[in-house]
């Protein structure tokens, strides 16, 4: 801890309001900050630089970037873990704690890990705990407790956050000078523009690197005024773009909620990340980026230290030294890695004027910590004698602040998520971005354009014009302008050093601060055989931390290239994937929605006490009554249908309306069955095959008029069938209209020997006897005054009438059916009874008794598929299968009462081999046989043969193969 530092006077302190103090506590101690402070800046002003302990070695860590770009500032705020202390605004009463400590930030018991560091190289988990088997299960919880980040609250509040969708011609990510120039250019040419910035104020580098501005606060205010008064621009500040997705869909986290922005063109003005330098103890509190020092001064009015050393590879460090000196920090020395003569001469002159010592060709050998504070007290500076090598002896300089300007890395992540590639130029030691996806553009520092210095002062000249030019290219591609503006030369002075890495015998030269990885960890990963940077990442975890390689990817690329004796361009960096910044799951998650479909009769079923069951997305009555009487209720419903009359809601059945001159032609090609001979007013059972000749659906085709068919389909298969039919006809171009009317119609099946009498009451004008309205006839006629389509089909094997009516009249029909049926003892029956009734009839349920490879001949449907008649979908394959012979067969079986319990899915055995499975089974009569359908490999199996079944618990049972139908073998009951 250092002494408390006084606040500087304006114009320093762009974000703070000196007149309003804010009370908060950190690690149980009370502090005071100013309105506008971030938690980290308020703590820094109070002399608290350490914010947390590091991931592995439990080293004290303080803010590195002051811009939310590092994991050092992750703290727990009001119980919420992993909050960036340098981004969260201070609020009254805020209570924060350091993370990853045992016993507190100052006296973390696990700081001993720092001394054991040599025993914990990268990937040590993989190597230390894989033997003996099971040892990892013991150690994992221990290691997880010691490492890791914040602690999740056990009772996290249930949070819902809304999602918003925005659209724009042009989205500009980053509101620095380049982004603002691009956004204004686009908006002024008529484009709708969304400008996004993660900071509270626009201006980018102008908010902190602004010595050239007379009044930075006024300049920023002017920029904001200009942007807000531009009608075409929507400005989103305090909003982080976390991902780029195909065709310019951007995810933006703003005010705790997710915005999905669809852009026609995407301009990235994401800038660049100033890099740290790699040397021993480069992670001590007090060692910060040069830009972080500038932010402390300019944004928060904080003097960053009393005595500072600046280490740099470019002119940014020189400017930082001048800014520090002006803020009252005594700059001891500027250590420049470059050779003499490469620094901007005007800046160097200013340093000289300010009395600041400047050492070229020098670097930091190590930073040293105070034994009690653990924070920076001195640095050891030395001459560079070769790349990465320092002189044997140096000079100790006492300081409480070390500012690093280690070069830049373009903020490439969003571009690379879009498929762009990074190229490395050995001459400039810089990465650049190429191969941008269509419609994506770069402006500013991410494009390598940084603005020139004129007489030592930064100027936007070149930068803003270049951004405007790039924006004009985007506008041209949108057709908003005819010609792009003239390109300007936007060359920028080099900012990187070829080797800003100084390995030390004592280690602790951190490449990746998030993951506590040192030079030796990267080198060691390569030595173990991981030559590819992607593998180095996975083995060492470099770049996997919350800062996602913002500072680690450049030194890692350099180290891997050198260790494998390749060019940096060949090694590259690891793949960038969303999200670029941490996203809370509650922000991404939608409300828990499990959509279900209800038929128009749903409430009627509930009123009648139905126990509901899912059928695809639908809810259907399984049976009527309480689940504890399940079997008895189902058997009772079966008996009622066999002896009296029952009604079942079959609204979930699929329905297709086929209209037009070529209707017959279409259906004759889609369905396996011959349909040309189907007369108007008649219906036929049909099966649909796929091209492989396998059964995919069945239903009943009703010819309601010469060129009009109504075809039912299975509940869960209709959508797929509809798609198949329309796809075929997209090729065949028949003059026919196919409509999926499944939801438009409700349907009730009235079945049982007494059903005709119920129908007579419902349709007094309709002739219903077997000659006028025979089996498999269909007619359009009113039922209880409701226009209906009535089909005489026999799915349950009794006399029955399917009544299809518009869904809006469903409940009305149901009530009429029960009113008309009251005298005949009508009962509702559910899906379970229906399944048993049709099982007795041996009718196959497509999807239950068939699988994805069921040939019609295997399930007794060979009569329906006749390839001899010419083309139909699947016909060619049916012919081939038939020539080869089938390999299995669906047979009926009976199991005597007391012979054991069998369930759908149980296995059919032959010796020790599995040769099939039970697809349907049940006992229709109380105390009667269990009947079922099962596949067997014995295609010659005959009634009376034995079928060996194995139940789930391993019990072997013997059933007898039976002829189907089990009931009313001649099919007389449905045809009466």
């Amino acid at each position: 801890m250092t002494d408390s530092l006084d606040r500087l006077s304006a114009p320093a302190g762009l974000l703070i309001d000196r007149s309003r103090t804010v009370n908060f506590d950190f690690e149980g101690r009370r502090h005071q900050g100013l309105s506008g402070d971030s938690l980290a800046s308020a703590l820094y002003a109070s002399g608290e630089r350490a914010l947390s302990r590091s991931f592995k070695y439990h080293r004290r860590r303080g803010a590195l970037s002051m811009a939310g770009q590092d994991a050092n500032t992750l703290v727990s705020v009001n119980g919420e873990p992993n909050v960036l202390a340098d981004m969260i605004p201070l609020s009254e009463g805020l209570s924060a704690r350091a993370q990853n400590t045992w016993g507190g930030l100052r006296f973390d018991a696990l700081a001993v890990m720092n001394l054991l560091g040599g025993l914990l190289p990268a990937g040590f988990y993989y190597r230390a705990f894989y033997r003996p088997r099971g040892i990892w299960q013991f150690w994992e919880p221990v290691i997880r407790a010691m490492a890791g980040l914040g602690v999740l609250p056990n009772r996290a509040p249930h949070a819902l956050s809304e999602k918003r969708h925005l659209h724009a011609d042009v989205v500009v990510v980053g509101a620095g000078p380049a982004g603002i120039s691009a956004a204004l250019t686009a908006a002024r040419h008529g484009a709708s523009v969304i400008l996004i910035d993660e900071n509270r104020r626009v201006g980018g580098s102008l908010t902190y690197d602004n010595a050239h501005l007379k009044d930075p606060a006024q300049r920023i205010a002017e920029l904001e005024e200009t942007l807000r008064s531009e009608p075409g621009i929507t400005l989103l500040v305090d909003s982080v773009c976390t991902g780029w997705f195909a065709d310019h869909l951007l995810s933006v986290i703003s005010a705790g909620s997710l915005i999905k922005i669809r852009a026609r063109r995407c301009i990235l003005a994401t800038g660049s990340f100033q890099q740290h330098l790699v040397f021993r103890n480069n992670d001590l509190p007090g060692v910060i980026l040069a830009s972080a020092a500038q932010r402390l001064i300019s944004l928060y009015g904080i003097r960053p230290g009393r005595r500072a050393v600046v280490a740099t590879v470019n002119d940014e460090g020189l400017q930082c030294a001048l800014d520090l000196q002006r803020a009252g920090t005594e700059v001891q020395v500027v250590v420049d890695l470059r050779t003499v003569g490469l620094a901007d001469s005007a800046l160097q002159e200013k340093l000289f004027q300010a009395g600041i010592r400047y050492e070229a060709e020098s670097a930091i050998n190590e930073a040293r910590a105070g034994s009690r504070s653990g924070e920076l007290i001195a640095v050891d500076i030395r001459r560079i004698i070769a790349a990465g090598e320092l002189a044997a002896a140096g000079e100790i300089i006492y300081c409480d602040l070390l500012c690093m300007a280690g070069g830049t890395m373009p903020a490439y992540q969003l571009a690379c998520q879009g498929g762009a590639r990074l190229r490395y130029a050995e001459e400039s030691a810089e990465f650049s971005i190429e191969n941008l996806p269509l419609g994506m553009y770069l402006v500013g520092a991410v494009r390598g354009v940084r603005g020139e210095r004129v007489s030592g002062e930064w100027s936007g000249i070149g930068l803003e014009q270049d951004a405007a030019h790039v924006a004009s290219l985007a506008l041209q591609s949108l057709g908003l302008i005819d010609e792009p503006s003239v390109a300007v030369s936007a060359a920028s002075a080099p900012v990187n050093h070829a080797w800003p890495i100084f390995a030390h015998g004592g280690g602790k030269e951190f490449v990746d601060l998030d993951e506590d990885l040192q030079v030796a960890d990267i080198q060691g990963s390569v030595d173990l055989g991981y030559r590819d940077v992607q593998l180095v990442k996975r083995f060492s975890t470099v770049g996997m931390g919350p800062s996602q390689g913002r500072h680690a990817s450049l030194p890692t690329a350099l180290l891997v290239a050198r260790a494998t004796d390749r060019l940096v361009d060949e090694t590259g960096v690891t793949t960038a994937r969303p999200p670029f910044a941490a996203e809370k799951l509650s922000v991404l998650a939608g409300p828990p929605r499990h959509p279900v479909r209800h038929t128009s009769l749903h409430q009627r079923h509930l009123n009648m006490g139905a126990t509901m069951m899912p059928a695809g997305a639908w809810q259907r009555p399984a049976f009527y009554g309480s689940p504890d009487r399940r079997t008895a209720l189902i058997q009772s419903e079966v008996a009622q249908v066999r002896t009296g009359v029952g009604a079942i809601d079959i609204s979930t059945l699929g329905g297709l309306e086929i209209r037009g001159p070529d209707s017959c032609e279409l259906l004759a090609h889609i369905y396996a069955n011959p349909l040309r001979s189907l007369a108007v007013g008649r219906a036929r059972y049909v099966i649909a095959l796929n091209e492989m000749g396998f059964v995919i659906d069945d239903g009943v085709a009703c010819r309601t008029a010469e060129n009009n068919y109504y075809v039912t389909a299975t509940t869960t298969g209709v959508d797929r069938l509809y798609r198949e039919i329309t796809r075929w006809n997209a090729q065949w171009r028949l003059d026919v209209d196919v409509v999926n009317v499944s939801s438009a119609f409700s349907a009730v099946n009235v079945a049982g020997p007494a059903s005709r009498r119920v129908m007579a009451a419902l349709c007094p004008d309709l002739a219903l006897d077997r000659n006028d309205f025979p089996f498999m006839a269909c007619v359009n006629a009113p039922v209880a005054g409701i226009a209906a389509r009535i089909v005489r089909v026999g799915f349950v094997g009794e006399l029955g009438f399917e009544i299809h009516i518009p869904s809006s009249r469903g409940a009305e029909l149901w009530d009429s059916v029960f009113k008309a049926g009251r005298d005949h003892g009508i009962v509702p029956f559910g899906v379970e009874a229906q399944r048993l009734l049709r099982l007795e009839k041996g009718h196959v349920i497509v999807g239950q008794d068939t699988d994805g490879a069921t040939h019609p001949d295997e399930v007794g449907l060979s009569w329906a598929a006749k390839p001899e008649r010419g083309f139909f979908v699947g016909g060619r394959s049916v012919a081939m299968h038939r020539a080869k012979g089938i390999g299995r067969k669906l047979v009926g079986f009976r199991l005597k009462p007391g012979a054991g319990q069998i369930a759908e899915g149980d296995l059919v055995m032959s010796g020790g081999d599995i040769v099939g499975h039970v697809t349907s089974c049940g006992a229709p009569l109380a105390g009667g046989d269990t009947i079922g359908l099962a596949y067997t490999a014995d295609t010659q199996a005959m009634a009376g043969d034995l079928l060996r079944l194995r139940a789930l618990d391993g019990t072997l049972l013997t059933a007898t193969i039976a002829d189907t139908p089990f009931y009313d073998h001649a099919g007389e009951r449905q045809e009466v």
Binding site: F245, A246, D247, L249, R262, L438, D662, A668, H669, P674, L675, R676, S677, E691, M692, Y722, R723, T726, R727, A730, Q731, W732, R733, L734, N740, E868, R869, G870, F871, F872, G875, R876, S877, M880
Partner: protein, 99 residues
């Protein structure tokens, strides 16, 4: 999320569309060999480059054809299927009767 220019509905998000496979010529089922038919069913070219694909705009039930580069995933054009198909062309291979 990717977008597709539906010839009927305009530019829509890809979650409104269903992929329908590569557009391929069906062999003449009446005359082709079993080998030809099996190849048609099971052996896909898996072309790296420009292919024609079936896409369905699901909410409107509209099938169309897209030309897509399977390497870059760029859809260069979309067409109504009538540009490629006519019943007259299909008829001679696809005739049938009830017998």
């Amino acid at each position: 999320m990717k977008q597709i220019l539906c010839p009927m509905n305009g530019l829509r998000d890809i979650d409104e569309f269903v992929y329908g496979g590569v557009v391929r010529d069906m062999p003449d089922t009446a005359h082709c060999s079993d080998e030809d038919w099996s190849e048609y069913l099971f052996l896909m070219d898996n072309t790296a480059g420009l292919v024609r694909e079936w896409w369905l705009h699901s909410p409107s039930g509209y099938w169309f054809i897209a030309e897509r580069d399977t390497v870059s995933d760029v859809i260069s054009a979309t067409f109504d299927p009538s540009l490629f198909f006519t019943w007259a062309a299909a008829e001679h291979t696809q005739a049938n009767s009830d017998d």
